[in-house]
């Protein structure tokens, strides 16, 4: 188990280096000239543009820029926004928890709805419940989340007036309001995830229920509920978990749209404005933080996988026959 974690962590470092380097490269290739824009636009004097460029170190080559960025980043300094001069790390610091709570809440909704649905449809395979569940999950997968958000806003905020349409309240200020503002985005993101999770879990569980070891358990008289809840689920959880990990990536990305629609001041809206304005340090910072989050989440998923599936832990196992 320890080797598994150590191995993953070891891979983490070069991976992060690659990712950050790729982002620097990407950012460098962005057309448009932020120096010019800051200096005053197309009519700015060349000298001024050059001066700004030099000030912002935009005239250095790729490697020096990356090196400088890396050195700063390791110390927690992600540079300053090209447009308002505020430290990127600060902004990310305040916005990250918001986005993360959005993603986490949505993930929670996915689990709460998807898991029972997946299990129920797998166990009652072929029944009316199964068909209904499959139709439901098909709808959930096909639904564009921005449209669902709009519909939910129309129903709950405009018609019924029970939930606020936009805005965000800090948890510290009022937990109730915090929750009320996040309910709609949570459900919007979560329902799509729930549909996919339900599908995957059903498929994994159906496969597991056909395995020989489930037959053995039944042949020895183990109660059916226990067969499903313990014997089958533990084996089906592992592949479903992997899918869930991938889903989380989509959730993290999906926050961008949600934050736009619901006017939530998270990292999504932050990076969106940065992208339209070519605010390079911001883009770089956000992408790196998100990538890091995702990699760590994957690590957690891998560890959980190892806990669930003992075969994975022991890499030299099984040359026995």
């Amino acid at each position: 188990m320890g080797t598994l974690i150590a191995r993953r962590l070891l891979v983490l470092v070069p991976l992060l280096l690659f990712v950050t380097f790729a982002v620097s490269l990407l950012v460098l290739l962005l057309p448009g000239d932020p120096a010019r824009e800051i200096a005053g636009g197309t009519r700015a004097p060349e000298a001024r543009v050059a001066e700004v460029r030099h000030q912002l170190h935009l005239d250095d080559g790729l490697f020096p820029r990356y090196g400088r960025w890396l050195a700063d980043a390791v110390q927690g300094d992600l540079g300053k926004s090209l447009f308002n001069g505020l430290p990127v790390a600060d902004d990310i610091g305040s916005r990250f928890p918001i986005t993360f709570s959005l993603a986490l809440g949505a993930a929670g909704v996915s689990l709460l709805i998807g898991v029972p649905l997946g299990i129920a449809t797998a166990v009652r395979r072929g029944s009316a419940l199964d068909r209904f569940g499959t139709v439901l999950s098909s709808f959930g997968i096909a639904m564009p989340d921005f449209w669902l958000a709009i519909l939910l806003v129309l129903v709950f905020a405009v018609s019924l007036g029970v939930l606020p349409a936009i805005g965000y309240t800090r948890f510290g200020d009022s937990p109730l309001e915090w929750a009320r503002h996040l309910v709609l985005p949570w459900f919007t993101l979560g329902l799509g995830g729930a549909a996919i999770l339900a599908r995957q879990l059903r498929s994994a569980l159906v496969d597991v229920l056909e395995q020989d070891y489930v037959r053995t358990a039944r042949a020895n008289g183990i109660r059916e509920r226990r067969v499903i809840a313990r014997y089958a689920l533990k084996n089906a959880a592992a592949p479903a978990l992997t899918i869930f990990g991938i889903q989380f990536a989509y959730l993290l990305g999906g926050t961008v749209i949600m934050e736009q629609i619901f006017s939530i001041p998270g990292m999504g809206s932050y990076v969106l404005t940065a992208v339209t304005r070519r605010d390079l340090p911001v883009i770089q910072g956000v992408v790196v933080v998100v990538a890091l989050t995702f990699v760590l989440c994957n690590l957690v998923v891998d560890v959980a996988y190892g806990l669930l599936n003992p075969k994975v832990r022991d890499l030299t196992a099984g040359s026995n026959r």
Binding site: L26, A142, I150, G253, V290, F294
Partner: protein, 304 residues
């Protein structure tokens, strides 16, 4: 697996079709045809494509002209079957023309992604070794970016337009396609008939062309069909954020973007574009499911 006749004990519970699929495309079509829901979905998609191609024939009005004195954000009426948007333009016509953008984008995305992923996946899976290791590391790097953010970054880098957005999204799809193709190729490579082919002295090119490719084609086709749905969602999403098709050219996504400002006052124009996105994605997914069932569950391992 050896059978001396259907008296065999396991025959009753195999895949959806009770028999493993042989790989013949005509057989596939026949099995697919038996599934009514999937066929209905296919019909729908064909309809959408036809309408998209012959848009001027179908649209009652010009999608871009702003008629003078027209009612704004109007509900459906006989002159405007789906009502009008915030500038008085006919929504139905805009949706019909929007089909062009969306369908083009969708097939462009999946086509590009496959074109890049197929050779990469084949080489990586068949030859394995160092090439495979390097390629997988590159894919891993791509995988760590949450998809929308990567698409955002690339789309903005190239400039907002239909083609550029498509390229960006295709880039996001490449790693998962490569992984799928590679996985399938690896599995086929381990099959006994590939080893038998090598023992017969057949060359690698021959084996790949005649044994590997045909046997990995089916799961790839299914994944491609399902991806069409995801591609549409992604393109609509980017357009909604303003990074795809640029106004005034209609696309289902940017129609929602336009009308979003009026969500509190005039909600109707928000309904048709979203609905048609939903239905089209649903149709693509149902086709994918139908294909998967036609091929039989046993040929499927980890698909998305």
């Amino acid at each position: 697996m050896s059978t001396t006749g259907p008296f065999e004990e396991e025959a009753f519970e195999r895949d959806a079709e009770g028999q493993s699929f042989s790989g013949d495309p005509r057989e596939l079509w026949r099995r697919f045809r038996r599934q009514r829901v999937a066929m209905a979905a296919l019909l729908f998609i064909v309809l959408v494509i036809v309408v998209a191609i012959a848009a001027p024939l179908f649209a009652p009005n010009n999608p871009n002209t702003i008629p003078t004195g027209a009612r704004v954000n109007a509900l459906p009426s006989w002159s405007h079957l789906l009502g009008t948007d915030d500038l008085g333009r006919d929504i139905l016509s805009r949706i019909i023309f929007g089909a062009r953008a969306s369908m083009t984008a969708v097939f462009l995305i999946v086509g590009l992604a496959l074109a890049v992923a197929l050779p990469l996946g084949l080489i990586s899976g068949y030859f394995a070794g160092r090439v495979d290791a390097v390629l997988m590391r590159v894919m891993d790097v791509l995988f760590t970016f949450p998809p929308l953010i990567l698409a955002l970054a690339v789309a903005s880098m190239l400039g907002p337009s239909l083609v550029n957005a498509s390229i960006a999204i295709a880039l996001v799809f490449v790693p998962s396609f490569v992984r799928l193709i590679r996985g399938q190729v690896l599995a086929v490579r381990e099959e006994l008939y590939v080893e038998a082919s090598r023992s017969l002295g057949l060359s690698n090119t021959w084996i790949v062309r005649r044994h590997v490719l045909p046997n990995v084609a089916s799961p790839i086709v299914v994944q491609a069909a399902v991806s069409l749905g995801y591609a549409l969602l992604a393109e609509a999403g980017l357009s909604f954020l303003g990074l795809g098709v640029q106004l005034p050219t209609p696309s289902w996504g940017n129609m929602l973007n336009e009308s979003f400002g009026y969500v509190l006052s005039a909600a109707w124009p928000l309904i048709p574009p979203g609905l048609v996105i939903f239905l089209t994605v649903l149709a693509f997914n149902l086709i994918g499911d139908g294909l998967r069932d036609a091929l039989g569950r046993e040929r499927f391992e980890a698909l998305r």
